[in-house]
């Protein structure tokens, strides 16, 4: 049963990038920005899944706060003055994107998601024209054991969208994170081949929610893997029903 939301008892006023905006209490900076067509970058945030707050691309400056705050997880307050696109933020965001490219083996030209990749798009949007960090070239595996899907750790950015959609929406909790730090990896069940998983329902939501070529359908050639995101707007509805 869908809950009837109570009408907001008050409206807040605040400023985002020098624009006066109104907001409802309980909204995050990200929510309010989107309501007013202000785009804040981000890779881990998905409406309807728990907030993860880990990609750090949506960090914004809030006047009076010493630290940068994640727009996805910070609730707005009356009179808040937010800057989402300063020189400093642009520099940090570029560096974070570079860190992701340097961390694993992202070879766009041969990637099935080339041209349909959120990471790639974000890099273009933020003007990352080269990576000046040393590539770490980790020896990571490709799991092709599933009938229909493939998990390529070379392309994974650990945004955990797959983990959250699997546990919170599908309810299978097949996907998780194993290890820690730079050795953290997306896992299936007890880190077994995906094809051997007894919990996976092969629903494919993880594949289509994945921002990169880490989770893809088999049988796709380079640049062919277009993800179907039409179900995304329903995630919130599914959670609330």
């Amino acid at each position: 049963m869908a809950r009837q939301k109570l009408p907001p008892t008050q409206t807040l006023t605040m400023k985002i990038d020098d624009v006066d905006v109104t907001a409802k209490p309980g909204q995050t900076i990200q929510d309010v920005a989107r309501d007013h067509d202000i785009e804040i970058p981000g890779l881990c945030y998905i409406d309807g899944l728990t907030i993860w707050g880990a990609c750090r691309l949506c960090l914004v400056e809030v006047e009076g706060m010493r630290k940068l705050l994640a727009a996805c997880s910070t609730e707005v307050a009356e009179g808040m003055i937010v800057h989402t696109d300063t020189e400093r933020l642009r520099r940090y965001r570029k560096m974070v994107i570079e860190m992701l490219f340097a961390e694993r083996n992202h070879v766009c030209s041969v990637c099935v998601s080339n041209g349909h990749c959120d990471l790639q798009a974000m890099a273009v949007q933020l003007g990352v024209d080269h990576v000046h960090l040393p590539y770490m070239n980790p020896d990571v595996k490709v799991d092709s054991s599933h009938d229909r899907f493939r998990l390529d750790h070379n392309r994974c950015i650990l945004c955990t969208r797959c983990v959250r959609v699997c546990g919170e929406i599908e309810g299978a909790a097949t996907k998780g994170v194993g290890g820690r730090g730079i050795n953290a990896r997306i896992i299936n069940d007890l880190n077994m081949p995906w094809g051997d998983s007894q919990t996976c329902t092969s629903c494919g939501k993880c594949v289509h929610i994945c921002p990169t070529g880490a989770l893809v359908e088999k049988g796709t050639a380079a640049a062919e893997m277009k993800k179907h995101r039409s179900f995304l707007p329903y995630l919130t509805v599914m959670r609330e029903s």
């Binding site: 909790a173 097949t174 194993g178 069940d189 007890l190 880190n191 919990t199």
Partner: protein
């Protein structure tokens, strides 16, 4: 659905499972007790194997991926069987300043094992710890649970050689 609410059977009639069950029972089979339970399994069996992870997951109703995630997040949990004896070298700051790197190098040269390795005969495992709080007697080494301070290479050899001969 009633059947699935029953507690799963222990993997074997090994008495040690009773200890594991006791921990889970004491915590009301709450999923919050996952780390406590894994501690008990490891203390009882020496390490966490697939069978025990599956059993704990089923008993506490925690997804397998979450159990594996926890078991591999924390340093003290190990999925590999350990040697008969363990030698834990502290790598805290004080120990580092006072010669742990040399000790580890010495162990590698003399016994051919690095952090996390076990000697080929399965007798001795080498582990490192992030500060065991024995900074005033750095460098510190824990030999089979017994802490020794101001450890020299000679002292270490005496201890480890003793194990290897046993």
């Amino acid at each position: 659905m009633i059947a699935s609410l029953k507690k799963p059977e222990a993997p074997s009639d090994d008495k040690r499972w009773k200890i594991v069950q006791a921990t889970m029972r004491r915590n009301g089979y709450s999923r919050n007790a996952l780390i406590e339970t894994l501690h008990t399994v490891q203390n009882s069996f020496g390490y966490l194997d697939e069978e025990s992870l599956r059993y704990v997951a089923a008993s506490l109703r925690v997804p397998l991926s979450a159990v594996y995630g926890v078991a591999t997040f924390y340093h003290l949990f190990t999925l590999k069987p350990q040697g008969e004896h363990t030698c834990v070298v502290c790598t805290g700051t004080a120990c580092y300043i006072k010669g742990t790197p040399e000790l580890l190098q010495h162990i590698e040269t003399r016994y051919g094992i690095k952090d996390g390795d076990t000697t080929a005969d399965g007798k001795v495992s080498l582990l490192t710890a992030r500060c065991i709080g024995a900074c005033s007697m750095a460098p510190a080494v824990v030999f089979d649970g017994e802490m020794e301070g101001n450890v020299t290479e000679e002292q270490l050899d005496t201890e480890v050689d003793g194990w290897l001969k046993s």
